[in-house]
């Protein structure tokens, strides 16, 4: 588990003192406590329900608690197609989330627009907001989502203190 990589116990002190870098300790705690905001718009929401359901159980990864207020969430899951009508809302929700925050593009529509290449759809949410992990699939299987989540956890462990955002950095609404 992550605890062995993040912490080391010092034998001379009888194992009663734990030494680690603050950065590693914070990253370790962050990666097991994602509070996710399901920005569920389309078909992928069906698989999202399955992921949250008893069989696949997101809870095992510490990401079980969906928060429906962006202020309380740190993982924005964009689940489904984003249309041009929806785009300003997505950016607004993203901007309302407090740092640190991560974004997961769930499903191929969020990744790249999928096979909806027409007047109505945004061709991938990374044209609007920064994305941390992409999960392709139409919709992705739950195993894939869990894999994506683990990838994100890996990414979080590697984050550097110096790279942590300081102060608000909202995405501009006008292009």
């Amino acid at each position: 588990m992550g605890i062995t990589t993040a912490f080391s116990t010092e034998e001379p002190l009888g194992g009663s003192v734990v030494l680690t870098k603050l950065e590693a300790a914070i990253n370790w705690s962050r990666k097991y406590s994602f509070f996710l905001y399901p920005f569920a718009t389309a078909c992928c929401a069906m698989e999202f329900m399955a992921v949250g359901g008893p069989r696949y159980d997101l809870d095992r990864f510490g990401a079980a608690l969906p928060r429906f207020s962006p202020r309380q969430a740190d993982l924005l899951m964009v689940v489904g197609t984003i249309t041009h009508k929806q785009a300003p809302i997505l950016v607004k929700v993203y901007n309302q989330m407090t740092e640190p925050k991560w974004v997961m593009a769930f499903g191929v529509c969020a990744v790249s627009g999928g096979f909806y290449d027409n007047y109505a759809t945004v061709q991938g949410i990374d044209t609007l907001i920064p994305v941390d992990v992409y999960i392709p699939g139409c919709p992705p299987r739950p195993e894939m989502v869990l894999d994506g989540l683990m990838k994100l956890q890996e990414k979080v462990t590697k984050e550097k203190w110096s790279d942590w955002p300081r102060g608000p950095a909202p995405v501009k609404m006008k292009c």
């Binding site: 041009h84 009508k85 300003p88 007047y119 109505a120 945004v122 609007l128 006008k174 292009c175």
Partner: protein, 160 residues
């Protein structure tokens, strides 16, 4: 081809307005002049032998290059008679309007707004004819055949 009660009655009642009737694959269809669409729909609903109480679907088709260019298509269903009928009204591009049938079937409200949104056909007398699926500021009507598939009008973000 067996004669259809609805089409017969309709042709007799509105001899000048019913342009053409046919039955293709069992679907009874009447093509009517758009001026009398309200009266025709009211007749179809209120005549006890027809009693088309369901306005199942309302849409439009763009036959670009033909004149008249548009067709507004109504699909009606009679619960008591278990009958369906399709009414089509041709709408030319120059006079892109037709009477709203919201006063007859409330269900038509959103369907007409959608057709207005996507085809730009104006429904006279509609209580709230605004865009439904797209947003204010969207120019043009995307389901018209001359609207390019990928012509994007984003509210924010790049023109990808």
């Amino acid at each position: 081809m067996s004669t259809n009660v609805t089409l017969d009655k309709l042709s007799r009642q509105f001899p000048r307005s019913v342009v053409e009737t046919h039955t293709h694959r069992g679907d009874a269809t009447a093509i009517v002049r758009k001026d009398e669409i309200l009266a025709i729909c009211r007749f179809l609903r209120d005549d006890p032998e027809l009693a088309y109480d369901f306005m199942m679907d309302l849409t439009a088709v763009d036959y670009l290059g033909k004149e008249p260019r548009f067709e507004v298509v109504y699909h009606l269903y009679s619960l008591s008679k278990n009958q369906r009928v399709r009414i089509k009204a041709r709408v030319p591009e120059a006079d892109c309007t037709i009477d709203s049938i919201v006063s007859i079937w409330v269900a038509a409200d959103w369907f007409e707004r959608e057709v207005f949104d996507l085809y730009g056909i104006i429904f006279n007398g509609h209580p709230n004819l605004k865009r439904l699926l797209l947003y204010e500021g969207f120019e043009g009507h995307p389901l018209r055949k001359d609207y390019p598939l990928k012509k994007r009008q984003p509210l924010i973000g790049p023109l990808n």
